[in-house]
């Protein structure tokens, strides 16, 4: 169990909602990041892939 050391009231409903929706949002976030990475891989300009300080 997490003990919250907040000086503001986090509100029980707000914490429970995050736990309830968090998984979906996390999965959606991770999926979008992966899709972005894949698109970036295909679009990658060979010049752009060089390190900036090259």
């Amino acid at each position: 169990m997490i003990r919250f050391m907040a000086y503001i009231d986090p509100a029980s409903g707000s914490l429970i909602l995050q736990a309830a929706i968090g998984t979906i949002m996390g999965v959606s976030f991770a999926a979008r990041n992966q899709i972005r990475d894949i698109i970036a891989k295909f679009r990658k300009d060979p010049q752009a892939s060089k390190p900036e300080n090259d």
């Binding site: 003990r3 907040a6 000086y7 029980s12 707000s14």
Partner: protein, 459 residues
């Protein structure tokens, strides 16, 4: 630190507080804030935030001998003018919201977390929204939901959604609800269409329901979420905020300069005269009241002054702010102020958020194309206007707009003219109780007159 110098808004957090000495703000960090502060500094989150343009910088100073329970005292970068979220335009509040989320994302990268998300912790410094609270961070504990989620939704998301989806004027609900707009209220006010916006439906609609359902939960909540879920939550909030835009409406004065009866030459002449007055005054701080989109505020900034550019029109203030951002201007602060009802003292003991009048003192007040709105549209006796301006600054640059002017004719078109003293002579007589005339210049190409007035010593 003598307690009487403690900032009247700095009492919530047990880890420290802000106090004032010789006009400078300092922050005491109590022993209870030591661990979080050390992690914040040593883990380099502080430098990342300052370099990223997200937070004010600070210097540690020697602890004054009278400070009790102090682990450290810091002297932060000082802020030109403290403003409040109900004085910001839509885009200002939106940028403040996005800055808060950017801070939280950077904090998570450093294994820390933002433990509050108060809009009052953001201030516009040199044109940018910066976090000012050094004690807003804690170590991230695996599994912990975001403690400040409720506060973020109340302080930022709810007002932005209401401004975007219902009416821009609803930002003023923040004046009534000092800890942000209650989510059940926001949910009740939002139109049906908001239910089809996933972010708003979740973070406001569903959030309000969960709060109602669990408001009597007395025991500690066992809610947990993974770090990926937490990132997902922040990402969802960010996309929801970014998806909110200004409603497609026009306000009364939003297009004022396009419809004004000033010709190009008269406009340039007015600018030239104002610049000349300002060069004589050499102000550090200018208060431009009725600034519209800030055209003349910008002229004032060219003399090196910091300009508070206030107007009643939320679209004009928003346009002013966007111009400021585009041009990376650093010495201008657009603000939404209704002069006929300026921000009052609010909060605990009426001392937590200070009135506009208490903060607005400047070297010069500019009141251009404003007097007719106050005297005719708002029935204010000219003497009352002189008294108010004289309380704000020793110098006044004011434009008298006569009854022959089309803007005044428009105001009088639908009402009886009960203003026999509203003439240049009547204006000068009323203002002579408070001011002496330093300069008087008719604006060529218009019927208007510009004055530089100096406050009388007895005022």
């Amino acid at each position: 630190m003598p307690d009487e110098h403690r900032d009247s808004s700095s009492f919530r957090d047990n880890r420290g507080f802000v106090y004032w000495q010789d006009g400078q703000a300092y922050r005491q960090i109590n022993d209870s804030g030591q661990e979080a502060y050390e992690l914040f500094m040593a883990g380099d989150l502080y430098h990342a935030l300052v370099q990223g343009g997200l937070m004010v910088s600070h210097k540690e100073i020697q602890i004054p001998p009278q400070a009790r329970g102090a682990y450290k005292v810091i002297h932060p970068q000082q802020i030109g003018f403290i403003s409040y979220p109900y004085e910001w335009s839509f885009q200002q509040l939106k940028d403040a919201a996005l800055a808060t989320l950017a801070v939280q994302k950077l904090a998570l990268k450093h294994d820390m977390v933002l433990r509050d998300a108060s809009a009052y912790n953001i201030q516009f410094v040199e044109g940018r929204p910066l976090l000012i609270d050094t004690l807003s961070f804690d170590r991230y504990k695996a599994g912990e939901p975001w403690i400040a989620y409720r506060q973020f939704c109340q302080h930022f998301l709810a007002p932005l959604a209401l401004m975007s989806r219902v009416d821009l004027g609803l930002s003023q609900l923040l004046r009534v609800h000092i800890d942000g707009i209650p989510l059940p209220l926001a949910a009740a006010l939002l139109p049906l269409g908001s239910k089809f916006n996933l972010g708003l439906a979740t973070h406001i609609g569903l959030h309000a329901k969960f709060q109602r359902q669990h408001e009597s939960t007395a025991q500690k909540t066992r809610a947990t979420m993974s770090i990926t879920s937490l990132h997902g939550l922040i990402d969802s909030l960010e996309r929801t905020v970014k998806g909110l835009d200004l409603p497609q409406t026009k306000t009364q004065w939003g297009d004022y300069y396009e419809n004004t009866n000033y010709g190009d030459d008269a406009f340039k002449e007015k600018a030239r005269i104002i610049k000349q007055y300002l060069r004589t005054i050499k102000p550090n701080r200018v208060l431009d009241l009725g600034a519209n989109d800030g055209s003349f505020s910008r002229i004032a900034t060219t003399t090196g002054a910091f300009v508070i550019s206030a107007d009643i029109d939320p679209l004009a203030v928003d346009s002013n702010y966007r111009q400021m951002k585009t041009a990376s201007e650093t010495n201008l602060l657009p603000l939404l102020i209704d002069l006929t009802n300026p921000s009052p003292d609010l909060g605990w003991a009426n001392q937590e958020r200070r009135s506009f009048n208490a903060r607005a003192g400047s070297d010069v007040v500019m009141a251009l194309a404003l007097i007719h709105h106050l005297a005719i549209a708002n029935n204010l006796p000219l003497g009352h206007v002189a008294d108010y301006f004289a309380g704000l600054a020793p110098h006044l640059i004011i434009e008298f707009v006569p009854k022959e002017d089309s803007q005044v004719k428009r105001l009088l078109a639908t009402r009886e003219d009960i203003f026999p003293d509203y003439t240049a002579e009547g204006f000068e007589a009323a203002f002579s109780a408070r001011y002496t005339v330093a300069s008087k210049t008719p604006v060529d190409g218009s019927a208007r007159i510009l004055y530089h007035l100096e406050r009388k010593a007895s005022s």
